[in-house]
C-alpha cells in the first residue's frame, strides 16, 4: 500500500494526464483542427511529449519515494587511481602541456579575431569561442571532470609570470589581498552574465552593421584577460581560479557530474553525480546554476516564443527615437533580465513550497542546499538547445575553419573547400535528442533533490513530502524547455 506523502494523489494526476493524452492520440483530427499538432514528421503532436515527460517525472518521483530510502551521494567515496598513467595526467609535464595548449588557443583567437576576415562564419575566432570552447568544453567536463582548470590559459600565463618574477626578486610572491569568502562565486556570475550579454544581446541585433564580429571577440578576450590577470595578482592565481574565474567555475559546475576528481594533485574516481553534492557550497553557486539555465532559456525564447514580443517592444523603442541597434539591444537586455528573473521565480516557488515541511530553515538555506540538483537541468537545456548547432558548426570548425582560420583563402590542411553537411541529422532525430535530454536531465535532478532531502530530514516520508514541490519545479522546467524548443523548431 502506498503510504508515502502525496504519492497517491500524484499517481492520480499521472493517470489523468495519461488518459487525456491517449484520448488526444485517438482523436487526431480534433487535435489538428485546434492547431495542436506539431511538425508533420513527428508521429505525435509535440505537446504530447511534454505530457509524456510530466508522466515520466511523476512516476520517477513515486519510484524514488518508494525505492530510494537511504542517502547515496552525500559524503561520497573518492579513490585515487594508482599507476604511472594517472600520475602523469596530473604531473608537471602534463600541466605545462595543457597550459601551453590553452595559451596557444587564446593567442590564436585574438590573432584571428584581429587579422581575420570580418565575416563571423568564415573566421576561426567566433565559432571557436561560442561553439567549440563554450559548448565543447561542457561535453569534456561532463565526461572527464573540470578539465578546463588544467587548460586555463590565464592561470598558465600567471604561473609563468609569477615564477619568473619570483626568480628575479629572489623570493616567492604572495597575494596582497585575501579573497573574501562571502564573495564566493559572485565574480564568476558577473562575468558569465557579461559573456551571455555579449553572445545573446550584443551579438543578436539582427543587423549586418553590428553583432559579434571577430574584432569584438578579440577585444572582449583581451579585456577579460587583463581583468583576470589583475584579479589573480590581487587575490592569488589559484584562489581566483577556484572562485572568481568565470569559465573555470562554469565548466567546473558541469564537471561536478563527472566520475573523475583531482584532489591535492592526485586523480581519483567518485560515483557519477556525487561531485555535485559539494559543488554548490560557496556563495553565488545557486546564481551560477540559475544564470546558466536562464541564458539557454532566453536563447531559445528569443528564436520562438518571445520573437513577436521582442519585435513589438523593439518597435516601441524605435518609435521613441532610439537607433535600431540601440533599440534592439535595450529590448533584448530587458527580455534577458526578465527571463533570468522568471527562471529564478520558478526555482524559488519550489523552495518556498518546501518550507511548508520545514519552516525553521530559511528559503536561502534551502535554495543553496538544493542548487546542485539543478545542474543536470542546466546541462539538459544546453544539450537540447545546442545539440544541432554543435553537430553542424563543428563540421566547420574542423574543416574549413581549421584550414583557413583567417578566411583569407589559405588551405593549411586541404580541407578549406569542405562545407557543412546539414543532412547529417534530421529534424526528427534532433527533436528526439532534445526530448531525451530534457527528460533524463530532469529525472536526474529529481534524484539529486531526493537524496539531499533524505540527508536533510532523515525521515523518508518528510523527505518525500518536501520533494513534491521539487517535482512541481521539475515539471515546470521540463515543460517550459519542451515548449521553447517546439516554438523555436516550428
Amino acid at each position: 500500500m502506498i503510504r508515502r506523502a502525496g504519492s497517491g494523489t500524484l499517481l492520480i494526476a499521472a493517470w489523468a494526464l495519461l488518459s487525456a493524452a491517449v484520448t488526444a492520440v485517438m482523436l487526431p483530427a480534433a487535435a489538428s483542427a485546434h492547431g495542436l499538432v506539431g511538425r508533420s514528421d513527428l508521429p505525435l503532436p509535440d505537446w504530447l511529449f511534454a505530457w509524456g515527460s510530466s508522466i515520466v517525472l511523476i512516476v520517477s518521483f513515486v519510484g524514488l519515494t518508494l525505492g530510494w530510502r537511504s542517502v547515496r551521494f552525500e559524503n561520497y567515496d573518492w579513490r585515487a587511481f594508482g599507476g604511472a598513467v594517472a600520475a602523469a595526467l596530473t604531473g608537471r609535464v602534463a600541466q605545462i602541456l595543457a597550459g601551453a595548449v590553452g595559451v596557444v588557443l587564446l593567442v590564436f583567437v585574438v590573432w584571428t579575431g584581429i587579422d581575420g576576415v570580418d565575416a563571423p562564419d568564415r573566421n576561426f575566432s567566433v565559432t571557436f569561442v561560442f561553439v567549440t570552447f563554450w559548448l565543447g568544453t561542457v561535453v569534456l567536463s561532463v565526461l572527464f571532470g573540470n578539465v578546463f582548470r588544467a587548460f586555463n590559459p590565464w592561470r598558465a600565463i600567471a604561473h609563468v609570470v609569477a615564477a619568473a618574477f619570483s626568480a628575479i626578486v629572489g623570493q616567492k610572491q604572495t597575494a596582497p589581498l585575501s579573497y573574501p569568502e562571502r564573495l564566493g562565486r559572485w565574480p564568476a556570475v558577473a562575468a558569465l552574465v557579461g559573456f551571455i550579454f555579449l553572445e545573446l544581446v550584443w551579438g543578436q541585433t539582427g543587423f549586418a552593421a553590428s553583432g559579434v564580429t571577430p574584432q569584438t571577440i578579440a577585444t572582449a578576450t583581451v579585456a577579460y584577460s587583463l581583468y583576470t590577470f589583475v584579479a589573480m595578482g590581487l587575490f592569488g592565481i589559484d584562489r581566483w581560479t577556484d572562485r572568481g574565474e568565470a569559465f573555470t567555475q562554469y565548466f567546473g559546475m558541469f564537471g561536478s557530474l563527472a566520475p573523475f576528481e583531482v584532489r591535492e594533485g592526485r586523480l581519483g574516481r567518485r560515483p557519477v553525480l556525487a561531485g555535485t553534492t559539494t559543488w554548490a557550497l560557496p556563495a553565488g553557486s545557486l546564481a551560477l546554476v540559475l544564470t546558466a539555465i536562464g541564458a539557454t532559456t532566453f536563447d531559445g525564447a528569443q528564436e520562438g516564443v518571445l520573437k513577436d514580443a521582442i519585435s513589438s517592444t523593439f518597435q516601441t523603442f524605435s518609435d521613441a527615437g532610439l537607433s535600431p541597434v540601440t533599440a534592439l539591444r535595450v529590448t533584448n537586455t530587458l527580455y534577458l533580465t526578465g527571463t533570468l528573473l522568471a527562471v529564478a521565480a520558478i526555482f524559488w516557488g519550489g523552495i518556498y513550497g518546501m518550507r511548508i515541511v520545514d519552516g525553521k530553515r530559511s528559503a536561502l538555506e534551502l535554495g543553496r542546499k538544493f542548487a546542485h540538483a539543478f545542474i543536470p537541468i542546466a546541462l539538459a537545456y544546453l544539450v537540447a538547445h545546442y545539440f544541432s548547432l554543435v553537430v553542424y558548426q563543428e563540421q566547420a570548425q574542423f574543416t574549413f575553419l581549421l584550414s583557413d582560420p583567417f578566411g583569407d583563402g589559405s588551405d593549411w590542411f586541404g580541407t578549406a573547400g569542405s562545407g557543412i553537411n546539414y543532412g547529417l541529422i534530421g529534424a526528427t532525430t534532433i527533436w528526439y535528442v532534445q526530448f531525451g535530454a530534457i527528460v533524463v536531465g530532469h529525472v536526474i535532478a529529481l534524484a539529486l533533490g531526493h537524496d539531499r532531502a533524505l540527508s536533510l530530514w532523515k525521515d523518508p516520508r518528510t523527505a518525500a513530502y518536501s520533494q513534491v514541490w521539487m517535482l512541481v519545479t521539475m515539471v515546470f522546467f521540463s515543460v517550459l524547455g519542451l515548449y521553447l524548443l517546439s516554438q523555436a523548431n516550428g
Binding site: 502525496g6 489523468a16 513589438s312 511548508i356 513530502y465 514541490w469
Partner: protein, 44 residues
Amino acid sequence: MGIPVAHAGHWLPYVIPGAIVLIAVLVASIRERRREAGGGDAQD
C-alpha cells in the same frame, strides 16, 4: 503581449501538465497538513 491569447492553442496544452501537477501537490500538501493537525496517519 508576450504570449497572445489568440495563440492559446499553442501554449495551453503545455500549461495543462504543470497545472495538474501543481493542483495534485496542493491537494497532497493540504491532506498532509490535516493529517499532522489531526495527529492521524492519512493514506494517499
